[in-house]
């Protein structure tokens, strides 16, 4: 009787633990957009299968098989095991409220979670019947329970993938229904639509243009953050689009050839803004020419009487403007050496209040400032300014509005505390952005400058060289360097060494958390700390379950 009660306690503990663990995996599954292949790749490369739970149960099996059957020992060890499992449940933390990217309990997440839990029960049903069979010693019962525990712990991620598979036809139907609804809303509202794409800068440019149009020309709809997929845009249209919206600014992400075309069919653009065509995500496309082709879909979608605004500093964006010229084709940028620009900024300087500049447009000079920091942010603002003016905004008022642009999360944001200041440039970094962040780091007043970074990723065969280059620039911009993780360690060390950065000023760590702990120990009053490319959970390196 007492043994049964203690086994029940253990079962409840295991169920609690399984539930929490299910959510923990679900967080990563959600970040991989419920894509089984991507989740499986993540599981494999991170070897993220369960260790904690399995270790506890394995220890029990070992002890039980070695010791003599004794009811007192059996009960007390079962209780101890139950306590351990419940402790593991608490240690796990709630993924809905912890972690850098929290688990968002959407309808889909809830469904996936419950179906996978149901599957887990099915998976463990067979060994459970075997467990219920009365034969065997007390030790055997404990061993069987522990085996079920191991099965549950190991099967959790697979149950999620199975659940996604089982739910996929219903999910697809639902998505199509939502898509149809969103298309109808968009058609009824019929806003003047501006599509934005680019290898980088598109989210910042979207925020700047959305804000600017809203202030200058009329009510503007734009999906917040980096929402740039059909499903993300569908959801935002259904929830937030209003009949009063006169303009829509849609960020269009290129995940492969054809994805921008699909977005253009969904929300047909009458104008397009191309922020850059570079080498980001080269791995997805195979060649720089394919990247160009994928991005060109946006220019093809704009009718001949439409507007095309391209970043003239990006050679391929300039090429796009030339190859797909529209009735109004405009170039913006900083660098006049590559050819003429319709809008360009000069007299650029940085201070703690933001970036000051003079915009040259139609032969007039418009001095201004923006609270956003760095050249990439100014370039986005300039692109937004060019588009807004092409659509009829008055340039002087548009420049005045740039003075109040809201900050974009984690994109070179200055965060001052009473002792130190942080420059947070945590979003997926690229060479231009990293270089610009270092420029701001050098320009702002500080007692001492620190860089903390794992380097840049997704740069194909240029990854080593680019990280090395930026490390060289960083060596001349800071006094202390925190190198996070192993992905770019060799490249960054090579760059720092080449620039004769003192080895004693390089602090290496395996994880982000460790780096920040070390930073806490080293930092002192007056420090300015650049946090560059604080990668998402998926690339953070080791995850332990």
């Amino acid at each position: 009787m007492a043994l049964k009660a203690s086994l029940l306690f253990l079962c409840i503990g295991t169920i609690l633990f399984a539930y929490r663990r299910n959510l923990s995996y679900l967080r990563y599954f959600q970040q991989e957009e419920y894509n089984n292949k991507r989740f499986w790749d993540w599981l494999r490369t991170n070897r993220a299968s369960d260790t904690r739970g399995t270790a506890i149960f394995a220890f029990v099996i070992l002890t039980a098989s070695l010791s003599l059957p004794n009811i007192v020992i059996a009960i007390s060890s079962t209780l101890a095991l139950g306590t351990l499992v419940i402790t593991a449940y608490y240690l796990e933390g709630d993924p809905r409220s912890t972690g850098k990217i929290k688990l968002n309990m959407t309808e889909r997440a809830t469904k996936t979670s419950w179906v996978s839990l149901g599957l887990l029960i099915l998976i463990s049903a067979v060994p459970l019947t075997w467990l219920c069979c009365p034969c065997g010693t007390t030790n055997a019962t404990i061993i069987k329970t522990a085996i079920v525990g191991i099965i549950v712990a190991q099967a959790t991620p697979f149950a999620l993938m199975l659940a996604a598979l089982a739910l996929s036809p219903a999910e697809k139907r639902l998505q199509e229904h939502y898509l149809g609804e969103a298309k109808q809303i968009f058609k009824d509202v019929a806003p003047f639509t501006i599509g934005i794409t680019g290898s980088y800068g598109k989210t910042g440019a979207k925020a700047a243009l959305g804000d600017l149009l809203n202030q200058t020309l009329g009510p503007t709809f734009w999906p917040k953050k980096s929402i740039n997929t059909v499903m993300g845009i569908t959801r935002t249209i259904r929830e937030l689009m209003k009949p009063t919206h006169k303009y829509a600014v849609i960020e269009m992400g290129a995940y492969n050839i054809g994805s921008i075309k699909r977005l253009c069919d969904f929300t047909p653009p009458r104008a397009a803004l191309v922020t850059a065509v570079g080498i980001m995500h080269l791995e997805r496309f195979g060649s720089p020419e394919n990247v160009y082709k994928a991005k060109s879909e946006i220019a093809q979608a704009v009718a001949a009487d439409g507007i095309l605004v391209c970043n003239g500093d990006s050679p391929n964006a300039r090429r796009m403007a030339k190859e797909h010229a529209k009735k109004t084709t405009l170039l913006y940028g900083f660098d006049l050496s590559a050819g003429p620009l319709d809008a360009f900024a000069s007299d650029i300087s940085f201070d703690e209040k933001g970036t000051s500049f003079t915009i040259h447009w139609n032969g007039e000079r418009y001095p201004g400032q923006t609270p956003l920091l760095g050249r990439p942010a100014l370039l986005n603002a300039l692109g937004a300014f060019t588009m807004a003016c092409a659509l009829g905004a008055k340039p002087a008022f548009a420049v005045a509005c740039l003075g109040n642009l809201p900050p974009v999360d984690n994109r070179l944001v200055l965060d001052k505390t009473s002792t130190v200041s942080y420059l947070r440039d945590a979003y997926n970094s690229n060479p231009t952005g990293f270089d610009a962040a270092l420029e701001v780091l050098r320009a702002l007043p500080a007692e001492r400058r620190i860089v903390i970074t794992p380097g840049m990723i997704e740069l194909g065969d240029q990854q080593f060289e680019q990280n090395k280059n930026l490390a060289r620039v960083a060596a001349g911009s800071c006094e202390l360097f925190f190198l996070v993780g192993h992905t770019n360690r060799e490249a960054i060390l090579a760059g720092l060494r080449e620039a004769q950065f003192p080895a004693t000023k390089i602090i290496m760590s395996d994880t982000r958390d460790e780096a920040f702990m070390l930073l806490g120990e080293h930092q002192r009053k007056g420090d300015l700390i650049l946090i560059e490319n604080d990668l998402g959970d998926l690339h953070e390196g080791k995850v332990r379950f």
Binding site: Q215, T216, F397, A400
Partner: protein
């Protein structure tokens, strides 16, 4: 003897203004202070997108952290703009059709700050239902919300106010350079610094202190993020603010005065609402937490009396009711006193001033008096003869 039925009070709060959260704080304070033996409370939360909800959860501060996702736990309600319904109608899940049941309400406390709630909008809707409500009526609320109109009206009644220029958003969008040049050519506006602020907003949102001509355009653009009209005022460089609360209960009465202490020269939104008595963390207590000197003993009596006299007069000529707070500024260089603005429904109901006044008025009493006045006002309106106009078509 049968127990007397408690008066059913609906507290309306939240709303579609930038001061949404401040209203939530004020309402939570009201719910705690109100006498539960006399009043039965129905909290009515208006979400930022304008839907109305009620539910027990609204008494808990922690609930608001889970908004908007937790709104589905609440009952959606509305008010029909016609007399005789005597309460809130409850809506179905679709938020468009009525369930058929009514939550009875005897009196409404509109505990809003800012647009749609303190500017006559909600007052107009309630007026249509014949349900008594606390605070100022439609006209007084509307006039006090528009800083420009209020100033001009009070100047007409010999209450001194700083000169002000009104700039419309559309004009600025068309030619901001011309507007900026026009401002700096007006008498009293030729030198900097100048204050640029939204005409119809409180809480210091969108306010800039402009120190040179190049900052004027961005400051105006900042206002036009939030408002369609901007107000430009000369900046009193050596400034002291004096606030006083005025209420209507057996005549018009003024509270003790207070001097808010500002760290940066202009009270920012953060200073007003987020500093929580100097601490950076912790729960915000709204206006009740601002660093201030209440009833300063060393204040010049003549100045204090002038503030109180102007405040009571302003309250009267504007036709305010309930509890209001009037903010004045003193130019320390010249000693001149100016009316600055009137809050028809001040943060925390200015209770922190009334508990220090003579005779002392507790928050609970303050609310009770407000409700009594509301009932009385409704009675007066009900006794007006309205049948007179219904004969022409007979």
């Amino acid at each position: 003897m049968a127990a007397v039925r408690r008066t059913r009070v609906a507290i309306f709060f939240g709303g579609r203004s930038v001061e949404h959260e401040i209203s939530v704080i004020t309402a939570l304070q009201l719910m705690q202070a109100i006498d539960p033996e006399k009043y039965e409370i129905t909290p009515v939360y208006i979400s930022p997108n304008g839907s109305w909800f009620t539910g027990e959860q609204l008494f808990e501060r922690a609930f608001y952290k889970r908004v908007p996702s937790a709104l589905s736990e609440l009952q959606e309600v509305s008010l029909l703009p016609k007399p005789g319904v005597t309460g809130l109608i409850t809506l179905n899940r679709d938020g468009k059709s009525a369930t058929g049941s009514v939550i009875p309400v005897d009196v409404i406390i509109p505990a809003f700050h800012g647009q749609y709630g303190e500017d006559g909008c909600i007052q107009g809707l309630i007026e249509m239902t014949d349900i008594p409500y606390t605070g100022s009526n439609v006209v007084a609320s509307a006039v006090t919300m528009n800083k420009y109109v209020c100033k001009v009206f009070l100047q007409h009644h010999d209450i001194p106010a700083l000169p002000a220029l009104l700039i419309r958003r559309e004009d600025a969008q068309n030619d901001i350079k011309e507007r900026c040049e026009w401002i700096t050519k007006q008498e009293g506006f030729t030198s900097f610094p100048l204050f640029v602020k939204p005409c119809n907003l409180g809480s210091s949102i969108g306010v800039s202190r402009v120190t040179d001509p190049s900052q004027l355009a961005p400051a105006l653009a900042k206002v036009f993020r939030y408002d369609t009209q901007a107000l430009v005022e000369p900046c009193v460089s050596e400034i002291m603010e004096i606030n006083v609360s005025v209420r209507e209960h057996e005549g018009i009465k003024a509270s003790v005065v207070e001097i808010p202490v500002s760290q940066s020269g202009v009270l920012s939104y953060e200073e007003k609402y987020l500093r929580g008595g100097g601490k950076k963390t912790g729960q915000s207590e709204g206006m009740a937490s601002l660093t201030r000197v209440i009833d300063p003993q060393d204040l010049d009596t003549e100045l204090r009396d002038a503030v109180i006299a102007h405040a009571k007069k302003a309250f009267e000529v504007l036709g305010c009711s309930g509890v209001a707070r009037l903010d004045f500024i003193v130019d320390l260089a010249t000693g001149a006193l100016y009316f600055n603005e009137l809050n028809a429904f001040p943060g925390s109901c200015s209770f922190y001033l009334w508990v220090r006044s003579q005779p002392r008025v507790l928050y609970t009493t303050l609310i009770e008096n407000m409700i009594d006045t509301a009932m009385k006002t409704r009675g007066t309106i009900a006794s007006l003869d309205r049948d007179i106009g219904l004969k022409a078509l007979k």
